[in-house]
């Protein structure tokens, strides 16, 4: 029987293709046909699925450019031999690689080739009558017979035809599609079928997968996402120049941006102060924003949290990071202010030990640069190493090295604001020089050696890192995946059953009713269904409709023999 199922599935999938296809000598058209048959066979689908699983794995083993390009660059530097080879195989861009795309595109072509013929077959099945009644119902996995004694049949006027019609009505009520046939013969029968939703569910499931893929593609084509770091008090306007970095989809056009604005009024952080084991673990991040949906619109106060994005102007704004921005003033050798304001420090651990770079390209006579770290709660250990002891700013401190020379900002090449290339610069002081570099508490100022200027640590602000996304495919992905889930459940849990009833009159006027059930696919509840149908039939014919004397019932004393096969007689070839 399982063979049956298998054949059904394969026929459905490949329009009746034989699995063991011999290479045909049919020219181009024939070869194409043959290739198509192969591609849409169940075996190929299975193979491609497994290949997809294997193909996805390297993306978790190697750093991916899409997630973090810097890590990939670092990996390539650290592995000068294997790195480029891996890169050639697109191991750092697995999910956009040629080979991964080939796997899933083939899979989806196979899927389409599989779904269309099956949808047509299903459409036909829905419109056609249930299949013809098998000759011998006793061969079916679940079957039984009911006898209505002659006396009872006579009393109720039951004929084989009437019994068949009544059985059909009863089955219809139980959700079967029914068809009464062989009415001209002495042995009329009923063909019944239910659970076509199972196949429908399967089709919906597979089709929805295509929908999900298309939605993802739409998001990739027409969506965009960008990043912006906002220090308290700063504003962002949703225009191309407003972003720190911007990643448009391939069909993005600039006029898609809706010029709304956001201001970070304040950023509140709460750390765990009660539990020793988790002391200093973050408990809550809240960004208070003032938003304005376009230049003329009214201002609005909004709260942004980690798991609760703000929706504005067709985008979602997410809180993806935060840190400290020490406010510094750099004066140059001539005593003029060369640089002033908050500098974003990038946290490197949970205690907000942060790295920062300060560039003062306007300093005279030489440009100045600083590299170092910021500690919210600075402490010095026995070895003399400074470290942060707490994420809250109880003792904020800047530890910096200073440099002068050409910062290389003037030639117009884009520069990473978080990196200072010190190769072409001259060191003024650092932790290894006699003065120990620059150590600054809030409100302090340090003069640079050689009269190059000074730096002061004026205060501390917080900043948030925002991700701003527009994904027009998102809703589609949600709708289709939900449909997929529903279709999948229907497909896996609905039993598809066929049931036949044949009636006949015995020589002495008894009415003989024979029934048999068949499941398509596995169905452990088939025997139970057989039993309840039998009980319903018995009730229908043997328990009088109206108030009939008890005798009538006794006399009826119908017998039934149910059974036959075991509930789960689906045997399979395990070869």
């Amino acid at each position: 029987m399982k063979q049956d199922v298998t054949r059904d599935a394969e026929q459905g999938s490949a329009g009746g293709a034989k699995p063991d296809v011999v290479l045909p000598a049919l020219g181009l058209l024939g070869t194409l046909r043959w290739a198509w048959t192969q591609l849409t066979s169940m075996r190929t689908a299975l193979f491609l699925l497994l290949l997809l699983a294997v193909g996805a794995v390297p993306g978790s083993l190697f750093p991916q450019r899409s997630a973090n390009p810097a890590v990939v660059t670092q990996y390539l530097q650290e592995n000068p031999t294997s790195g480029p080879i891996l890169d050639w195989f697109q191991m750092f861009d697995v999910y956009s690689s040629v080979w991964f795309s080939a796997i899933y595109l083939l899979l989806f072509i196979s899927l389409i080739g599989c779904v269309i013929p099956r949808a047509i077959a299903h459409f036909k099945a829905v419109r056609s009558t249930p299949p013809r009644t098998p000759k011998r119902l006793s061969r079916l996995p679940v079957h039984g017979t009911i006898e209505v004694p002659a006396a009872r049949a006579r009393a109720t006027g039951l004929t084989p035809m009437l019994a068949a019609e009544q059985a059909a009505a009863l089955l219809k009520k139980r959700g079967y599609r029914v068809d009464v046939r062989d009415t001209a013969t002495g042995t009329p029968s009923v063909g019944a079928e239910r659970g076509l939703t199972k196949e429908l569910g399967n089709l919906v499931f597979h089709t929805s997968l295509i929908g999900v893929l298309v939605s993802v593609a739409v998001g990739g084509l027409f969506g965009y996402n960008g990043q912006k770091v906002l220090v308290e008090g700063e504003s962002f306007v949703n225009t191309l120049i407003g972003y720190d970095s911007f990643d448009p989809g391939s069909n993005f056009t600039g006029d898609q941006l809706d010029p709304y604005s956001l201001r970070l009024d304040s950023f509140d952080v709460r750390f765990d102060r009660e539990q020793e084991s988790h002391y200093g673990q973050p408990l809550d991040f809240t960004a208070n924003l003032t938003t304005q949906d376009g230049p003329g619109a009214e201002e609005e106060q909004q709260v942004l949290k980690v798991n609760a994005p703000v929706t504005i102007g067709g985008t979602n704004v997410y809180l993806v990071g935060n840190g400290y921005a020490p406010v510094v003033t750099v004066r140059d050798g001539e005593g003029d202010i060369a640089q002033q304001g908050p500098v974003v420090a990038v946290p490197s651990d949970g205690l907000y030990t942060s790295l920062l770079v300060i560039k003062a390209p306007d300093a005279q006579p030489d440009q100045l640069g600083f590299v170092g770290f910021f500690l919210p709660t600075a402490f010095v250990d026995e070895a003399g190493v400074s470290f942060s002891r707490d994420p809250d700013p109880f003792n904020p401190q800047l530890n910096l090295n200073s440099y002068y020379g050409d910062l290389g900002l003037d030639d117009g090449t884009p520069e990473n604001v978080y990196v200072l290339d010190t190769d072409d610069l001259t060191e003024l002081n650092s932790r290894t020089t006699d003065d120990g570099g620059i150590v600054l508490g809030v409100g302090q100022t340090v003069d640079l050696p050689e009269g190059k200027g000074s730096i002061s640590f004026d205060g501390l602000q917080r900043y948030v890192a925002l991700d701003i996304h527009h994904d027009p495919g998102q809703l589609g992905a949600l709708v289709f995946s939900t449909l997929a889930l529903l279709g999948l459940s229907a497909s896996l849990f609905i039993g598809r059953r066929r049931l036949w009833v044949r009636t006949a009159e015995g020589t002495d006027g008894r009415i003989l009713v024979e029934y048999g059930l068949l499941a398509r696919g596995e169905d452990t509840r088939l025997a139970g269904e057989g039993a309840s149908v039998e009980k319903a039939l018995l009730d229908r014919w043997l328990v009088p409709d109206g108030p009939v004397g008890e005798n009538g019932q006794q006399e009826a004393g119908a017998s039934s023999t149910a059974g036959g096969g075991k509930p789960n007689t689906i045997t399979k070839d395990n070869s």
Binding site: T6, L49, A53, V57, A67, Q281, A308, E522, K566, D573
Partner: protein, 353 residues
């Protein structure tokens, strides 16, 4: 227009005392499981020897009428010495109770498992109450709650079918998970970091844990299925039956059918896990799918089990091959839960280790 899903600011502090009580319960539950495990193993040994004695007695009575091992719930005729064509004896395929002889030891084992699960439940619940949140926020909690789900799902299945033959396996796994939690990832009760403060944690992780628990049970069945089918082939080929304890286990075919049904349910659960994870990822990180290592492996698991379901409908792929796919899927689940959580860098690095 912020989502109301944001967790309120004022969460009461954790209850450390209750947390310690929970750990004590966890220890007691582990002990009870270990004892249950001992009884399950004892039952295997005993029943196996009971059958052997019965068989040899039968073989002795061969002269009269060599009747089948009626009381043992055996399906085929016993492996009569020299008899080659009869299939090997297996437990009743229906896996209903009452088919075989009474197994007192197994009853004790099940009773102990129930007791252990009750204490275990108390431990899990008190941990959640102590932390004022669902008890699945770090590796310790994934392990302990996961083990609880495995035990409960096994007991539910046990109430409908006689699956005592995998008792030692399943309870053994529960013990391993509890040991891993207490030895490998001891974590005192704590609140959740902001990234985990979402209702999706409740939905996404609970379904993931429940599905994984079901995959655990089907994994056990698939392993047994492979052992059983190689034994069946061996005995049919006239070789000696070396894995006699497998007579307590149903035939390979019925194991396959039952694990298919469980896998189907677990697969739907996993599909939902994947979707809920994507929705959550969209809220937390701004994209519903980003091929983060954890997402990659969740996807790989999903595809492997989809492959399994396909295999069941592909000629030549049912039976042994399908069982291998089910085992592969489970190995991926374990990998995703251990190696990926601990060693892989990604956005999901909150597992508290």
């Amino acid at each position: 227009m912020t989502s109301p899903a944001a967790v309120p600011m004022l969460i009461p502090p954790v209850d450390a005392e209750l947390g310690q009580l929970s750990e004590l319960f966890m220890l007691l539950a582990s002990i009870a499981y270990v004892v249950a495990l001992i009884f399950f193993v004892l039952d295997l040994v005993r029943s196996s020897s009971t059958i052997t004695t019965l068989e040899s007695r039968l073989a002795g009575e061969q002269a009269s009428s060599a009747r089948v091992l009626a009381g043992v719930g055996a399906r085929g005729a016993g492996s009569t010495p020299g008899g080659t064509t009869t299939p090997p004896a297996t437990a009743d395929d229906s896996m209903d109770y009452g088919a075989g002889p009474r197994r007192g030891t197994a009853r004790i084992a099940v009773a102990l498992t129930v007791l252990a699960a009750v204490i275990h439940g108390a431990a899990v619940v008190s941990r959640g109450v102590a932390a004022h949140r669902v008890p699945w926020g770090n590796m310790y909690e994934f392990c302990t709650t996961g083990a609880f789900f495995v035990a409960v799902i096994f007991l539910i299945a046990l109430s409908r079918k006689d699956l005592r033959f995998i008792g030692s396996f399943v309870v053994g796994l529960v013990v391993v998970m509890l040991c891993a939690a207490t030895v490998g990832f001891p974590t005192p009760v704590a609140r959740l970091i902001p990234a985990l403060q979402s209702y999706w944690l409740i939905v996404h992780v609970s379904i993931a844990v429940a599905s994984s628990a079901m995959f655990t049970i089907t994994f056990a069945m698939s392993v047994l299925q492979l052992l059983q089918s190689s034994r069946e082939a061996k005995v049919l080929a006239g070789k000696e039956d070396t894995a006699r304890f497998l007579r307590l286990v149903p035939s390979a075919l019925s194991l396959e059918n039952l694990s298919y049904r469980l896998n189907a349910v677990a697969f739907v659960g996993w599909t939902f896990t994947l979707m809920a994870g994507a929705i959550w990822a969209e809220q937390a990180w701004g994209r519903y799918w980003g091929w983060d290592p954890k997402e990659v492996w969740t996807f790989v698991i999903w595809v492997v089990y989809a492959g399994y379901l396909h295999a069941r409908a592909t000629r030549g792929w049912t039976g042994t091959r399908a069982a291998w796919l089910s085992i592969t899927g489970y190995l991926c689940v374990v990998f995703n839960f251990t190696i990926v959580n601990i060693y892989f860098q990604g956005l999901h690095s909150y597992s508290g280790v």
